[in-house]
Structures are given as structure tokens and as C-alpha cells.
């Protein structure tokens, strides 16, 4: 337990990382209690032409959009979509990528070559272009956007896990475990995987931020979430026509994306520093 205490104390020293964690926690709580926090629940979907494009005021702190909906409420409900996208996309990328990396790294035969070449094919396109193409082919909606993100993000994990597995599998204790007669699944799952967990955790955290950004971009381009979903990227896209007059319309969803992605990155960086001291910069 002391090891965890030390890691925790180290982590607390990193102000940016703690700030990132704080924002992520606020985000999670917001998503959880969205119905109680949003000032005007009905205003998320209900069209209200009289209140169209009102500037921020006490009644509508973030203003209203072109259909007279309360932007603050929509941003708050957007957290739910954002979190669902991040968790499902990164979660499925982990589920696909980690076993593939482990198997490819542990078996040094045709199978590992085959699996890693498939990963390479995915990595040879920019992830965003690939995800966009997939989302268009599958049909533009939020489910397909999540699917497209998952399918295109796993090679990052398989690459990392592959490299780390290659390194760990030649350790003496893996050889000793083999001589003890542990089967291959046991060695991979209980001996190699725990030893390579830190880079996976770090990559997942940073990947959350990245995925949120990509999902917002897909929404912005119209191949992700569809109206009237209160998705942040989509909101910015809708707000384009009313710029620069209705500046609040694009600004607040944009701020939300910016803050959340930055929080995940700061948290991920802090985690990396704590979990992998080799990457630390002296004087920090």
C-alpha cells in the first residue's frame, strides 16, 4: 500500500495534473447530475422562436441558440454525450488493441507479423480521415461515430502493448514462469499485462481527450451527432452561420471542448510523470 501512497503524494505535487483531475471529476459529476444542474430542462429540445439568439443574461447565462434553446443547459447535457463517447471509444479500443498487442508481442511467429501489419495499415492513414470515412459509409449518427472512433483508435494501443510486451517477455521472471509450467494465457494476463499497465493507463487518459476532440470534429463536419442532439461539436457547426454576431453560441460549447480536452491531457501527463519516472525532466 505504501507504493500507492507515494505515487499519490507525488501526483498531488503536480498542480496541473491535480487541476486536470479536478476538472474531470467536475465533468463526471455534471454528467451524472445534469437534470438537476441544467437551469431549463425543457429548453434542450423545445423550440422557442421568441427567445432566438439572445445574448448571455441572468436568465440564460450562456445565451440562447437560433432555436431559442438555453445554451448552458445544452452544454451541461452535452457532457453526457462527451463522456459516453470517450468511455466507449477508448474502452473498445482497449478491448481490441491490448489483446492484439499482447498476442503479437508474446508469440514471435507469423501471427504476430500478421496482427502488427493490420495495425500498421490502420496507422498509415490519419486517424481522423479514416474515422470520417467510416462514419460517412456507416451513416452519420452518434453510434456510428463512436464505432468509427473505436475501430480507428485500437492500433495505438496494440502498438504500445506490443512494444512493451516484447520488452517484458524477455525478463528472467517470465522465463522462470515458463519453466514453472504456467500456460501462455496465464503468462500474458497475469504476468506481462500487470507489468505494462502504466503506459496503457497513460495512453487511455490522453486518448480520452483526443477522442473527445475527434468526436467533436466529426459532429462539426456533420458526420457525427445529428441535430437536435446537444453535442458540442455539432453546436459549433450550427453556430457558424450566426458568427460573429451571436458570438456566445459557438464560444461556450467551444470552451467546454477546450477545457475538457485540456483536463484529460494534463491529467494524462501528470499520470505519466508519476507512473514512469524515466520520462521525468530534471528540475521538475
Amino acid at each position: 500500500m505504501t507504493t500507492y501512497k507515494i505515487i499519490f503524494r507525488e501526483f498531488l505535487n503536480d498542480r496541473l495534473a491535480v487541476m486536470g483531475l479536478g476538472i474531470i471529476l467536475i465533468l463526471l459529476l455534471t454528467a451524472l447530475f445534469a437534470p438537476f444542474l441544467a437551469p431549463d430542462r425543457s429548453a434542450i429540445y423545445d423550440i422557442n422562436p421568441q427567445k432566438k439568439l439572445k445574448a448571455p443574461s441572468w436568465e440564460h447565462p450562456f445565451g440562447t441558440d437560433h432555436m431559442g434553446r438555453d445554451i448552458l443547459s445544452r452544454v451541461i447535457f452535452g457532457t453526457r454525450i462527451t463522456i459516453i463517447i470517450a468511455i466507449i471509444a477508448v474502452g473498445s479500443a482497449l478491448t481490441i488493441g491490448v489483446p492484439i498487442g499482447l498476442i503479437a508481442g508474446y508469440y514471435e511467429n507469423w501471427l504476430s507479423g500478421f496482427l502488427m501489419r493490420i495495425s500498421d495499415i490502420f496507422l498509415s492513414f490519419p486517424q481522423f480521415v479514416l474515422a470520417m470515412a467510416l462514419a460517412v459509409v456507416l451513416g452519420p449518427n452518434i453510434k456510428n461515430a463512436i464505432l468509427a472512433l473505436s475501430i480507428t483508435y485500437w492500433p495505438w494501443f496494440s502498438r504500445i502493448v506490443y512494444a512493451e510486451t516484447l520488452f517484458v517477455k524477455h525478463s528472467t521472471f517470465i522465463e522462470a514462469t515458463e519453466a514453472l509450467g504456467a500456460n501462455k494465457f496465464r503468462i500474458m494476463a497475469f504476468h506481462i499485462l500487470p507489468n505494462i499497465l502504466s503506459p496503457i493507463i497513460v495512453r487511455s487518459t490522453i486518448g480520452m481527450g483526443y477522442t473527445i476532440l475527434t468526436a467533436a470534429a466529426l459532429g462539426f463536419l456533420g458526420v457525427g451527432a445529428q441535430p437536435p442532439t446537444p453535442e458540442w461539436g455539432l453546436a459549433i457547426s450550427e453556430a457558424r452561420e450566426y458568427l460573429p454576431g451571436a458570438w456566445w453560441y459557438a464560444t461556450f460549447p467551444g470552451m467546454a471542448i477546450f477545457v475538457v480536452v485540456m483536463a484529460f491531457n494534463m491529467f494524462g501527463d501528470g499520470l505519466r510523470d508519476v507512473l514512469d519516472p524515466r520520462l521525468r525532466i530534471s528540475g521538475k
Binding site: 511467429n109 528472467t172 522462470a176 519453466a179 509450467g181 500456460n183 507489468n195
Partner: protein, 333 residues
Amino acid sequence: MLNLLEVINLSVQFDTYQGMVEAVDEANLTIKKGEVVGLVGESGCGKTTMARAILNVIPSPPGKISKGQVFFQGRNILLMEEKELNLSIRGKAITLIPQDPLGSFNPLFSIGTQIKDIARQKLISQSEPKRLGNHKEEMKQKILMMLNKVKLPTPETFLTRYPHELSGGQRQRVMIAMALLTDPLLVIADEPTTFLDVTVQAQILEILQHLVREEHVSVLYITHNLAVASKISDRIVVMYAGQIVESASTDSFFAHPAHPYTRKLLECLPSQAREIKGIPGNVPSLINPPKGCRFVSRCDRAQSECFQKRPLQEEIASDHWIHCYHPILKNEE
């Protein structure tokens, strides 16, 4: 005595970028029940490869067992199913005490977790897998007893500690306890004292010797240290460049070492009075090794036939076997 392990004509090859390396070449080795065999040789002569071949854990690719048989209790290990090997041979009937006691523990888990893991896998799983709970206390008692036998003071306190928190000697003791936990028939000790200083080495050897006698296990003791081998073994087998060159009971071996290599090796042992000697020349490359005797380039007794063909095994005295055309015979001295 019954032959517990019989290695017949074993060859192991490694496919490297430079070519095929013959790490072990037609090796024969017999270990009787309760016997301690010391396998002696320089670094890189194939001792560890031999140990791995016995457990059939040669990393493949690049390695492969190209020839030969390994009979354990009359059954060929090399033909056994992987599943059966894992269940009843590896870590159960044949256990390994590794060379590097720090590297051989998984750094993430406490000593206790790792010992209990072995106990759970090897002591219980076959008989009554369902009744794990009932065995827990019994298992713990056995572990503590074993740790006691390797003379670790207050074994309970070791269970919660991590490998890096132990000293080298303590780690190696835990390794010995782990290796003997499953009541094995054969323990392969792969240079278990190499990483330790001389005093700790003596303690570990003593513990090992004592336990071996007490538990009646056979031991294949791999070492490059002839002095250590002479102390612990009933029988000494000398390897050179992947081949076995001499094999004899410890008494016969030291009374009358017959192979020129063995002779030179013994002369290399540092003593206080003399200067340290070496053997001129180098171990031949194991990629395309010499056709004949592999020691030929460093041997001062070499004749033309030594270059042509590897000498066959020959019994020069009772149970004293040698691969040499021109051994140093008794009457020469």
C-alpha cells in the same frame, strides 16, 4: 539405482542471423534417483540450454531441439503434450532454481503472493480443485515450513514483502523453498550461487545439500565453479562448446581427470601459491564448429584424427566416461 532422467543424443540449435548455432551437440546425461550431478563448463558452453531442453522450454523460434530424447521416469518429455508438461512436469516433478534470484521474481507481487500462486497451481489443482478453501491453511503451513527449512528467520514476515526488499541470499533461499515446495523428483539448480558472495554462497550450498539429502531429490547442479561442484555433487559432467567431454563420479573425476580440457580447467583453479593460469586460445564459434573434437584448437595432445571426427564415448575406468582419442591415462603420471 534407477535412472530418473536420461538425456540421449540431445542436440539443440539456434537459428541466428549469422547462421545455425549448435548450442548443444549430441549430449548424453543420466541422473539417477537421489543423485546430485554437477554440470560444469565455461560460460556459453550450453549448460543452461541443456537445462531448458530438459524442461522443453527452449524459446522457439529461434531455438529448436533438433535431435535426441529426454526420458524422465521412462517417458519422453519432448513428445509429451504441452498441457501435461505444464501440469505434471514443469514446476512440479522438475523444478528450477534460477541463476538470477531478483530477476526471476515478478517485481509487482509480494513473495507470499508468488509462493501461494505456485502452491495453488501445483499442490492442489490436480487433486481437488473445488475445495480450495479447506486447503488454504494447510498450504500456508507447508509454505512456512519450507521457508523455515531454508533458514529464513521469521518466515511470516517475508510473505508480505516484495522481491526488491530482500537481500540476495534471502531471495535465493526463497527460490530454493519455492523449488522444493512441490516435492519435486528433480531440481535443476542453474548456477544458484553465482550472484552471491562467498560466505552467502557457502550458506546456500549447505542449505541445498542438507535439503537434498533430507528430501531425497535428484539435482542437476549447473555451475562454472569446479570447487562448488566438487562440494555438492556425486557425479561431475564437464561440457565444452556444447558437447559433453567427460563424465565421472566425483571421486574418480578428481582422482584422475582424463580429458585434456578437464585437466587444463583444473589447472586454472586459482590457488594461493601459484600464479593464475588460463587456457590459451578461445572457445570455437558454435556457428560451423570444427568437425572433429571441439577442443582441438586449444589441445596440446591433438593429432590428425582429432580434426576429422568427434571421438566417441569411451569408458576408461569404472563409470568414468570420456570423449577423447588421447586421454591422459593413469600410467602416464
